[in-house]
């Protein structure tokens, strides 16, 4: 690329001046449009020309002219039963996370949560497809070296080990769909002018995961987590760095309240982007409702 570019620029020195009169598009880049002589451009409405395409009756896929069709003949195996209700966690690998940090798309000097990951522009999720956040996968765990305070929605044991080996901390936290809706497009949410909702507790089938210290759940006992961190370091054979001695201690111990969605913003607050003010509720009833 570079060679041809230099050649082209060099050649231009000996060619006539490029002006409005001697430029053209690449040959064949534009196709001339023909005007068909009928209502729909003189076409055959997608049926092809004559013959079977126009005249034959193609039956729907699987239909056997009245026989009990093959696909209905045997009892079905419900592989996908309830798939529309299951929570989906679109994956993000440690390799990609490292890349986001290296390319300054994520600021590792601040706690990294789902908002930060989505705002990097390299991770997409949509709430209406039952996406519930990041599943951090272990691809690239051997080169992961970012020291971050990370909050994801799902993480496996080797992933937790890789992050803690690098000196960071990880939490798994649950967000309900309403909270996620606020997170996926923060600007749009604030423009709606509604109070920040309070985060709901996990559903019954997820409460165990998010209360477990082994999964670094946000509802787990911090002392248990401390023990599990040590146990994991023993299991994977790395030296656990003491967070207390870390210069970024303050950043590393920051956690959200289980009812909180955004760092620094409490549920019930309204962010007014136009006047750049934050409105906080004062009513007793509201305060009680939004209290953790």
């Amino acid at each position: 690329m570079s060679g041809s570019k230099e050649k082209a620029l060099n050649l231009l020195r000996y060619l006539p001046r490029i002006s409005l009169t001697n430029i053209r598009d690449n040959p064949g880049a534009k196709m001339a449009r023909k005007r068909g002589r009928a209502q729909h451009g003189g076409d055959k409405h997608g049926d092809g020309n004559k013959g079977s395409g126009q005249r034959q009756n193609f039956m729907r896929l699987g239909y056997e002219t009245g026989n009990n069709p093959f696909y209905l003949r045997f009892p079905k195996e419900p592989y996908y039963k309830g798939h529309h209700l299951k929570r989906q966690y679109p994956p993000l690998s440690l390799l990609e996370l490292q890349k986001l940090v290296d390319l300054n798309r994520i600021d590792p000097t601040k706690p990294v949560d789902l908002v930060a990951i989505i705002n990097s522009g390299m991770y997409k999720m949509s709430v209406d497809q039952h996406h519930f956040g990041v599943n951090l996968t272990d691809e690239g765990f051997e080169i992961f070296e970012a020291k971050i305070n990370l909050e994801v929605q799902w993480a496996s044991e080797p992933v937790i080990a890789a992050i803690e080996k690098a000196g960071g901390v990880v939490t798994t936290a649950y967000y309900d769909p309403h909270s996620l809706q606020a997170i996926v497009n923060t600007k749009k949410f604030f423009e709606r002018g509604i109070p920040i909702p309070r985060r709901m507790m996990p559903p019954a089938d997820a409460i165990e995961f998010y209360s477990s210290a082994a999964n670094r759940g946000y509802l787990a006992d911090p002392e248990e987590i401390s023990k599990e961190r040590f146990a994991l370091a023993q299991k994977y054979g790395y030296l656990l760095k003491r967070i207390e001695d870390d210069p970024d201690y303050e950043m590393l111990i920051q956690r959200k309240d289980p009812r909180q969605i955004f760092f620094g913003l409490n549920p019930g607050w309204i962010v007014n982007l136009k006047d750049k003010v934050i409105l906080k509720p004062t009513d007793e009833e509201l305060l009680e409702y939004y209290a953790s």
Binding site: S2, L9, R17, R24, N26
Partner: protein, 286 residues
Amino acid sequence: MFLKVESHKIRNFNNLFKQLRISCAREHSTNSDIPTVTTEFAPRKLLFESKYLKPRQVWLESLDTIDERKLGILELHPTVFGANPRIDIIHQNVRWQTLYRYVSFAHTKLRFEVRGGGKKPWPQKGLGRARHGSIRSPLFKGGGVVHGPRSPTPHFFMLPFYTRLHGLTSTLSVKFAQDDLHIVDSLELPSDEPQYITELVKSRLWGPSVLFVDCSDIMPRNITAATDSIKHFNLMPYYGLNVYSMLKHDTLVLTRAALDIIEEKILNNFHRHDPSFLKKFKVNQV
């Protein structure tokens, strides 16, 4: 202060640089006051420096004498001034700039719009002639036209953002490669006579047509007065810079301040990664 800019077809840069209004500090000298020769000048600090591409070099010139006077060498970013000279992209930009503002008023009438033709011209049967119901049928001379041009037909469309951006870098690179790009310290002239600027352009083998681009839309008085009567010398603020005007003029003269701002804006747009700004352009949307 007077303003003489090529105001048409400046959409290109306007779109790019919508948010940006940076005032540049300039010392306004009087007629008699000839700018002093500055022997020292700060070298340029290139943004987003490339590990692999070498910066281009250009002379920094001055307009305060008729003969060429070089003040020093400046570095130019290779992404902007050493880009692949894509003639096709330049052509697409020129085509877009011509078409988006063009509305065709060619118009033909349909059979019902042509006057008359209500009466059956002759009986259906018995004359030995072809059957007809109206003398304004498309088969008739002077009848309506089928599928003819209808007025107004707008030809508005938006070229993709990066095609516009590459159009700018391609054209700047072409101008630079063909020695048609000159960087000057400022647009201050010692005289407001048209003769002065004409002789300056002639002695330096510029032009004949020259486009002067500055970082502000309020140009110095002398160059405004001097070029006012010369139609092929035009002044333009940096945000008006566009492919069409660059090609329309033989020589492009940028002030150093304009160069800084143009390079910075183009590079920032090449390196931005907020995905929302690339949404599809929609007509009739506020």
